[in-house]
């Protein structure tokens, strides 16, 4: 996961309720053949993308939970060790925004500030049916330290931007943690569980983490 000689490798997880368009966003971003004249078939549900941000080479591996939303228990195995999360809601569906809030709560609780969050209001092509207040969403995102962006997978609007924004944020976070001399490999529940020695290192810190 660490950056080797100016190369960055990040893991991004997509979370959100079913039918908000997570898969369409990621397919649009990685394939850009969404709803095109040519029919495409796609077999791999694990996608990667390479970026160049200000001369820094960034590799993204994007993990989609497509169709598995009702299995909340699967969430942790997907978001474990993620550097970034894209939390998608449908601007015409208030419940889906509530689900995003739940995910933010859970991610912050388990992964703390180690993860960069990007909240995305999808389906802006259906602006006239909007049910989620834009200003409210913006304010909420700000309050939890997340970026807030709008997109339409259908019209291919804002898709590249949201991945780029998140990638930039992750680069900044990694650079900051590297300069602070912290190990970027240690984070969250997985490392806490992985070894007894970590528990020994910070026994007092453990109970607190569960309550925030």
């Amino acid at each position: 996961m660490a950056s080797v000689a100016g190369r960055y490798q990040f893991k991004i997880v997509l979370l959100g309720e079913g039918c908000v368009g997570k898969t369409s966003l990621v397919l649009r971003y990685c394939q850009d053949k969404f709803n095109d004249k040519h029919l495409t078939t796609l077999q791999a549900s694990y996608l990667t993308k390479k970026l160049n941000i200000d001369g820094k080479r960034v590799g993204l591996s994007i993990w989609d939970t497509a169709g598995q939303e009702r299995f909340h228990a699967l969430g942790p195995i997907y978001y474990r060790d993620s550097n970034g999360a894209i939390l998608v809601y449908d601007i015409t569906d208030e419940d889906s925004f509530q689900k995003v809030k739940n995910w933010v709560k859970e991610l912050r609780k388990i992964l703390g500030d180690d993860i960069c969050l990007c909240i995305v209001g999808n389906k802006i092509d259906l602006e006239r049916d909007r049910h989620v207040d834009g200003a409210e969403a913006e304010a909420y995102a700000k309050s939890v330290g997340a970026k807030h962006l709008l997109a339409s997978a259908k019209l291919n609007k804002g898709v590249d931007e949201l991945f780029l924004e998140l990638a930039k944020a992750m680069v900044t976070a990694q650079d900051a943690s590297a300069s602070n001399g912290q190990s970027s490999g240690r984070r969250g529940a997985s490392s806490r569980k992985r070894g007894v020695e970590i528990v020994d290192e910070q026994p007092a810190g453990q109970p607190k983490k569960g309550c925030c």
């Binding site: 394939q31 040519h38 029919l39 078939t41 694990y46 299995f71 569980k193």
Partner: protein, 621 residues
């Protein structure tokens, strides 16, 4: 099918189809039908409109000859639903092919049968089949045969091909044969026709199917009543007299029925409880496919309420989900400890969960400690197997493509199977969170890891995943003191098992370990659902000319074929030595008492793992 190869191919990003330009090389033309043959594709047109496009297979072992076009060298890419069906009936069901051996190279017929609900309903399919039996097949003109045959002979062959098609369908999805009236009518009609046409072999084959169909319908209701009462008992254990009758019959039939499964149909009845905001409730009996509107109407009549009411599910953590009036089949979609409420709209905000929704409060003195890990794994697998085999392939389609798009369809069996994953996951977390003493928790952890290991041996991946997910539940993963005390051997087993859950590279570890197994397998279904969701969202079902994108259908079908492959052999697991009454174990695994409120689990785990173990902690530090 070579599973291993299939899984490897999952890493390849798929192929792309580009429509061919019009060809001048038109070999066959009559008044309205024309066919262009090209090296890589065949395009059939009716009245100057494309109705069927075939692409040459990319299989080098198939010999291609310019002079004679062998349809088997081509795959259907797009086409009108009816034309695709006729084409398959004409070319893919020849009598000289061993249908089993043939299906291995060419799965087009299976692919069609597995995915047709996405572009036509049963009624349409049956009427095309009926018409095909009688004659009038337009596609014949597109591929005229050089062979000289009498019209009687051609007709006979056609009818035989149709019967072969029906038998194949019955093999792939026998569910639909006793569920759907159109299919039943088609069968009955064909049996009469075959008798008239003097085709005794085909007649007896179809009669067999018809017999099975009738038998199934009879049994299914009985089993469903058993299921309903067992489920109801689960929700309300105090209601003892209801299940007395079924318990006797349960015991008698249990041994013989351990491997049976009788899927729940849309027209079956279900008994369920509906609550009011004051926590009083009434029981109702409805068909599985009753609409929410119908259920609300029944409640309002019984309770004499005139206000406009809503039906919602209240989860144990207070979350509410209001159902739409036109939704159907919602009873099986309720979460583990969720309850259904019918209330006037304005009462929604003040709705609070019932105390019983919290689940057990204290340590459960359960069969868990008395039964061996193998015995528990065995019975969990038997139940999982029943649930898995009850799910019709079409329920996966309805689920992935949105059940609302399929009027009158329910996904009851799939819902129950998917709910089971949550239930087991929470069961593991609940048992551990409620065990007050650390040594008990260590024992339980070992037990669950052992159960998971046995499930893996039984190739029951779904329960295996559920247990390991339960041990990964945030409540359990924070039990640091318990994990510390877990012997290294078990720790290692758990780490290995968690490695199988690792979703890296599209669940590579799991796909590879599963790919090398022979059926019967109970697969981890959410992954199949994910694959189908991707296939679905990745491309359109219909082209701009309203042709079916059959390439997409084949991709969706490849997952469904895999599901069928997993259950292509009956479950044969030797029962372990029985340490307790069969009925008790049978009941225990079907009525797990769980806490499904994550916050409550987290809190309980925090309390138990820190308070009692503080002396231990100071010793070790």
């Amino acid at each position: 099918m070579d599973l291993f190869r299939f899984f490897r191919s999952m890493y390849d990003v798929g192929c792309q189809f580009v429509k061919k330009e019009d060809s001048v090389d038109s070999k066959v033309t009559n008044q309205e039908t024309s066919t262009s043959f090209e090296k890589d594709s065949i395009i059939v047109r009716f009245d100057h409109k494309d109705v069927l496009i075939l692409d040459r297979k990319k299989d080098p072992s198939l010999v291609f000859s310019e002079n004679e076009v062998d349809p088997k060298c081509y795959d259907v890419t797009t086409g009108l639903p009816e034309t695709v069906l006729e084409y398959l009936l004409e070319t893919r069901l020849g009598n000289d092919d061993d249908s089993e051996g043939n299906s291995r190279v060419d799965t087009l017929v299976d692919d069609f049968l597995l995915t047709f609900p996405l572009f036509m309903n049963e009624e349409e399919l049956c009427s095309i089949l009926k018409r095909y039996y009688r004659g009038t097949v337009r596609i014949q003109h597109a591929f005229p045969s050089n062979e000289k045959k009498s019209p009687q002979d051609i007709g006979r062959k056609r009818k035989q091909r149709l019967v072969r098609f029906i038998l194949r369908w019955n093999k792939l999805s026998y569910h639909i044969f006793y569920e759907n009236e159109h299919v039943k009518q088609l069968l009955k009609g064909l049996v009469c026709d075959l008798e008239k046409d003097n085709l005794p072999d085909e007649l007896s084959l179809l009669e067999q199917v018809l017999d099975q169909t009738c038998n199934h319908s009879r049994f299914s209701n009985g089993y469903d009543d058993l299921m309903s009462s067992a489920l109801l008992e689960n929700k309300d254990s105090s209601d003892a007299n209801h299940s007395d009758k079924s318990r006797v019959s349960l015991d008698d039939e249990l041994m013989t029925r351990l491997n049976d499964c009788y899927p729940i149909k849309a027209c079956d009845n279900v008994i369920f409880q509906v609550y009011r905001s004051d926590h009083t409730y009434s029981k109702f009996r409805c068909r599985r496919d009753s609409t929410v509107r119908h259920i609300i109407k029944q409640c309002c009549e019984k309770w004499r309420i005139d206000d406009e009411c809503i039906l919602c599910e209240l989860k144990s953590n207070g979350e509410k989900q209001v159902f739409k009036y036109d939704d159907i089949g919602i009873v099986s979609r309720v979460s583990v400890n969720g309850r259904l409420f019918v209330i006037p709209k304005e009462e929604l905000d003040c709705l609070v969960p019932l105390p019983e929704q919290d689940g057990p409060e204290n340590e459960i003195h359960s069969s868990l400690t008395e039964l061996s890990a193998k015995e528990l794994a065995y019975h969990l697998t038997i139940y999982e197997n029943q649930l898995f085999r009850s799910v019709s392939v079409y329920e996966f389609l309805y689920h992935v493509f949105g059940v609302r798009n399929f009027p009158g369809k329910v996904t009851t069996n799939l819902d129950l199977f998917l709910n089971r994953l949550d239930e087991i996951q929470f069961w593991v977390a609940t048992e551990l969170a409620l065990a007050s003493h650390i040594s008990k928790r260590v024992q339980l952890m070992k037990k669950f890891i052992k159960i998971a290991a046995h499930c893996k041996d039984f190739k029951n991946w779904n329960t295996f995943f559920a247990i390991i997910l339960g041990l990964n539940n945030s409540a359990v993963s924070r039990m640091n003191h318990t994990w510390e005390r877990l012997p290294t051997k078990f720790r290692k087993m758990f780490d290995d098992f968690s490695g199988i859950l690792n979703p890296s590279r599209n669940h590579r570890v799991y796909r590879l370990s599963m790919g090398s197994l022979d059926p019967p397998i109970i697969p981890f279904l959410p992954l199949f659902i994910k694959d189908m969701t991707f296939a679905h969202e990745g491309s359109e079902t219909l082209t701009n000319d309203q042709l079916v994108n059959f390439t997409k259908m084949r991709l969706v079908a490849s997952t469904l074929r895999l599901i069928q492959f997993c259950r292509s052999n009956p479950l044969t697991v030797d029962p372990p030595t029985i340490s307790k009454g069969l009925r008790e174990v049978y009941k225990y695994v079907r009525q797990l008492q769980v806490i499904d409120n994550q916050e409550r689990l987290d809190q309980l785990a925090l309390d138990t793992d820190f308070k009692p173990s503080s002396p231990t902690k100071s010793q070790t530090l």
